[in-house]
Symmetry: D2
Subunit: 465 residues, 4 copies
């Protein structure tokens, strides 16, 4: 019954029986549960003893196992390793290969849905559509394209390789990300920003809108004015999309909230100054979905001892931790995210991203970093059950996808992960994936990624004799 | 009667008679005028024929000359050459020498009052007080200290020498500027910004408040949130000071206006996008004082051909020119400023400021650049009389100093410049200074600066055999 | 009779008749000449009237045309555009494509033999062998691999991209060039250098030996000691190879001559100091083959006005010119070379090589730069006939290939270029290529390169919508 | 009898009696010794019991103390902290202050003679002459001025601040060092080098000649050709001076030896490759004076863990250690040197020299680093007595000063250090200085330096309120 790397739809109903179901609603786990899947969706959920055996069923016995909804990541970058050895070598048509690999790395880990919040739009769109059409396998992708107001990967806003590289080539690479809503918008009057964003949305391809409330370049400043922020949110809503902001200071956060965003990225990042309690309380009171990113003590200790770790990165970690603790305590609606992607063996030598990857518990590795995230979150005062909801129901709700995704309930898309130990006992159990089911089909997850690109062994650049 | 380099008060009344008076009110020039000065102020102004000859008078015959109010510059930096060969060599007590030299270079040119909008507070304060006490001569100084929200000269916001120099030394140099209201404020909640600014004002020393609406680092972004901007303006006003903003994009400009500033610096700078007409009209309707900076065609042509001229500087020049033209046409209240300071012979080789100094009509040289400024302004549609007002009455009004300064009217401080040709005929006549009178005393302006520092001949760093 | 892109051998004898033959020996041109080719070699050369018409002959009438030996270039780099957008995009197996393209660009221009003096050994070897085996078309390649003692393209010796890129990737790219005889040899005792070079030669693949007498990094210093230089030359000779040196100062030149090299690269480059006359005379007296590189006045004028042209490059041009003039006058054995390669449309924006490519008469473009070279050489006092010999006979002799190559004489490989105007009248006529014959086969030169890589239109990195 | 900071000559004979004399000849220590000093020189040395008490004597009882010759350092840089905050702040006349301070720091530690091997010639010369004339106190200075063939401190050869600073200022600073024998000599024919060096010597001021056999920039390459090296040595010898070379590779070392140098600096530095045994043996057989520099294990461990320590510095330490051990074992004539100078409290934050100063046992601090040097040397197999000779007799001999300096023998200059514990028991006892005698006068060493410049407390650049 386990099917090919690609998701072959099983002929008829399948019932997963005998396992303990943690359905993503926050309900008490149901032992000896049965989950019936048909036509890619959950048809029936209940006790195994109540299962209607009259119907034709393919039974999958998962006695002793634990069933959770397909996991979600509220902030990934399927093309995130922006070093020239990656972006030039695989450029441009081959960015698709990177996206496919990353979507499969995620799926292998039981992350059935990812929200890509900054990447090369065309490649992401093509792969998203191919996965949705069943032409290839991988996590379900929703994508934002560019962070409106930011430049591309080699602009001053991110990894300034462009200072040394050919400016024509740099511009061509950046253009894959910028798509007409790049750094130039930070010069524009708000009404021009509105028009640029409207055109960007109208051009099609994106699923939701993300913009820069803070400047990424210095991890401070305000990138877009309050009027511009409001215009962006209005345009997103007019197009039926959610809008989110990247805000990295207390004031940028307030502006984003004031602009009416549906989701805060890096919601616990306020740089050198802690989040005012009134902002914490406001986020909690409004139940404004809030992505939190944290780091384990092991990671921080190793990072601080790493000569390549930028000293100014280390500074705001305590503030992040403190903000997170207070948001959790206040009952805010937290979302799980890694901000992660896929890296190959040479990435840990990268002068830019290496310092994030060398320490243990690296927070940026799609497919594994979610484990450390859960651990750290529990250390910060969250219950294991609430932590599970941050990676399932909460994300679906925040992105307006809860009619389809996020819980194991009849009528929803049948995304399911079967673990062989209880993740509520220990978040490391999220690694113990037995089955990954997406849209009702069991994925041959152990074979993923099918065509390793970055994750293949050896240096990206072959050597000499 | 011409007195020592320092300003010796004449014993009794002095009358300048026979010249043509352009009094800075915008009135038609008065031929054969008499200006009576007593106790450092104008006592009487009228036709020479109406002069009361009964009183004891020292007569200064200026027949054939032209009298104008002491000129003002709304934006100078008395310590602006921030290369290490200057800031390290003269550091720290010797910054005073730089300030004195610059104040004397200005005074020599007939600029009797300058507004220093970013500099090392302690040195500026000491020299201001010494000049006001008559212990040394120089332009009357009003000072802002730091641009609130910006770092010091070697921070990422300005000239990033700090990347290479000793960080402890860099921080010590920057601290002379930052004074507790530096870049850290861009991370703070608005209420913390308010407190920091309140403390800064309370510490004494400054005469007016300037803050960063735009980030200086990238000449875009918004440095301080609308709430923070409003808090700063409120604190300035509560302390009886004017508040001004540096705004370099259309949105930053709107925020500054919304925050209630009394003066816009770089009011014609909106980077790559022109100022919306509604903003032009708003500035004009409110008569919000607006400093404009422009460049001559000669300067621009040479700058663009200079290998060291940053390409991205050249880009916004057309926008600046267009904005200026529209502001003038709309009847905005324009202020003259050079943003200038004093440079020595090696400055034109500086990797940073050299590109601004090498072309002709360099806009940044205190003491000469105001001539080119007037020329360019007239080319942009301003009448010569209005141009004269930008450098006298308008500045006094904008800074709330019009009870004392800006025009030749009885009761005001007797700052007067005597030219030997009509500046309304040709702005180059502003160079033809015959007498500089400050606080009623004639300055021996040709001997200034008394102790040349940067302006002495030869390299700053002596050579080998 | 014109054959496919690849060189199909004609069935029997071919005679090129009626043209004027400039045979590369320095002899007076022979009008109405006949050149008979068989089995890839010249079989008979003489007057058309003396041609033995009894034999079976394919006649190619070249009346009114001019026949010269296949041209040679004594110093090319078939992979010379070392910017990351090239070396990463085409790395590693695809370097072969770059080599093939460059060999075909050369062949198209009538350059039938090139000596590659620094490049990625494996790719060069593979393509050389494929061309020699008739599997692809292109100039005949002889190769040196690395310049012994220098690092690879991204080492401190050449284009220090490595300062910013991933060090593992940098090392992997450099290794394609270094091959065990890189910069490490500059630390070694001479006997260790000898062993490393012996191993390098024994590993096979190279055709001749080139080493660094000067350091390339600063274009001064001495890279290898006199003992090390002698050891390298001895090892080359022991293996039956010629040895050459790159020498960029007067003393490095003397050391190379003292070490017994067979050929001097950049023989007219002595940096800021002119070559002593005794060295000029010594080179001439020994008839030591000496590659000269020069630049047209047009190039120099444009280069000096180019903001991106490194000022320190401009400095030694006068010395180069003066040295060349004196070497020519002294009767030295000059060799033609371009040091060139193939560049695409974005190369002129490269921060490194762009400054060499933007001016007219760029000296580094394989396939065209030889024309300007001939012009400049004649301006420096060489006769057109001697200039022709620098690009034919002299190179064959210098590299020990004159038994096979360099002249149109019976027994030699039949490499022939047919021009439709006399190159001795004007070197621009070298462009007017009618036929290119290599190893007796006429090449369909107009179709080259068969698979454009760098030379295809458009940016190397595709854009966005 | 202890005299003022400056060295006042005592009226008559002084006898130091009762101490144990280690006279610097290698002889067995003499207990209860008497050393009679008159007219600045040693007059008589023997057992106290043999002292002629008839003469008039000022007796200094040093019973229980240990007397050694004034110590020497074969390689110092009295101006070595080349960061802009030092070279610009104290430039140019004030370099003298730095030299005086450093000479006094050395003298305080009992180092009565230093050989400055690279520095600003004019300042060094002035201070040397003032000390010799008794106008100020300090170590006796012998100076080389520039390292012939190297650029100044901000050239590419040393600390490339010049990349960012004003080039005119950079050149002016470098000129203080270069003095016409800078980097330009690496382009010159050997005969031009000879002439430049002859002029340099003839200009006066220097005491000995030092040149660059290796390039300093990359710590490899050969800076000057064998002919040029020989010319320099010949010119030095013709002027009656010793010649020394800085050689950092095995081949550069061989060239320097071949050129006939009198002294090898960094004689144990051969970079990545160990010194061939034949070179070790040659140096030993010729008794060619050889300065060795080594590092303690504590230093190396801390340096390797210091993020700012350049990885490529760490690499050659093992080779240095191994070379030193073999030179010692072979019986080479080793000289002590620190390559050190004086640093202030901010120096440890310097991006360049900080990494050498932060670890314990920093090797570069004049006045203390000699202690660690002795310790390390003993760990490498040297006897304590031989170690003492490296810092006294050997240096005097190597520099041709043994008629005057280096041992406590009648007729020599009376430089003497009195320690209160036996330095042969533990090199840390070199710190326990009781008296410093120079030219027969006791120095008030505890008051040195008289006018602290770099060594004063606090940052070099005063702060803000």
């Amino acid at each position: 019954m386990v099917v090919s790397p690609n998701t072959a739809r099983p002929a008829a109903r399948t019932a997963f029986i005998g396992g303990t179901l943690i359905d993503g609603t926050g309900a008490v786990p149901l032992p000896d549960a049965a989950v019936v899947v048909a036509n890619g969706r959950f048809e029936w959920v209940g006790s195994t003893q109540d299962l209607d055996r009259a119907q034709e069923l393919r039974l999958v016995d998962v006695t002793g196992k634990f069933l959770i909804p397909g996991m979600m990541d509220a902030n990934v970058h399927l093309v995130v390793h922006c070093d020239p050895d990656v972006l030039l070598r695989y450029e441009p048509g081959r960015y698709d290969e990177l996206v496919v690999e990353a979507a499969q790395v995620a799926l292998r880990a039981g992350i059935t849905t990812v929200f890509d919040t900054w990447g090369p739009l065309e490649a992401l769109r093509r792969v998203r559509d191919r996965i949705n059409a069943g032409e290839t396998t991988g996590s379900r992708i929703f994508l934002a394209g560019n962070i409106i107001g930011n430049g591309g990967p080699w602009s001053a806003d991110f990894f300034p390789y462009g200072e040394r590289l050919n400016p024509v080539v740099t511009e061509a690479v950046n253009a894959h990300w910028e798509q007409g809503v790049g750094a130039d918008l930070t010069w524009m009057p708000a009404e021009d920003v509105r028009r640029a964003v409207r055109d960007y949305i109208a051009a099609g391809g994106i699923d939701f809108v993300k913009y820069a409330s803070s400047a990424h370049a210095h991890l401070r400043f305000i990138a877009l004015s309050p009027d511009a922020q409001r215009a962006i949110v209005e345009e997103a809503h007019a197009a039926g999309m959610t809008a989110q902001a990247c805000a990295l200071t207390t004031e940028a956060l307030k502006l984003a909230i004031g602009a009416g965003v549906d989701l805060l990225q890096h919601g616990n990042s306020t740089g050198r100054h802690p989040m005012p309690q009134e902002t914490v309380d406001l986020i909690a009171a409004r139940q404004l979905p809030c992505v939190i990113m944290l780091y384990s003590e092991r990671f921080l200790a190793a990072a601080r001892a790493d000569p390549g770790f930028p000293p100014n990165w280390a500074a705001p970690f305590e503030t992040k931790s403190d903000n997170a603790r207070r948001l959790i305590k206040a009952g805010a609606k937290i979302l799980h995210a890694t901000d992660g992607g896929v890296f190959g063996p040479t990435a840990s030598d990268s002068p830019w991203v290496g310092a994030l990857l060398r320490p243990p518990d690296s927070p940026a590795r799609l497919g594994t970093s979610h484990i450390a995230w859960h651990q750290v979150m529990i250390e910060h005062g969250m219950t294991p059950m609430d932590a599970l909801l941050t990676a399932t129901r909460n994300i679906a709700q925040a992105y307006g996808k809860d009619h389809d995704l996020g819980t194991v309930e009849p009528g929803k898309r049948a995304d399911l992960v079967v673990l062989d130990a209880n993740p509520l006992d220990d978040p490391r159990h999220y690694e113990r994936v037995v089955h990954v089911v997406k849209d009702g089909a069991v994925v041959d997850h152990r074979r993923l990624p099918l065509h390793p690109v970055l994750t293949q062994a050896g240096p990206t650049t072959g050597g000499a004799r």
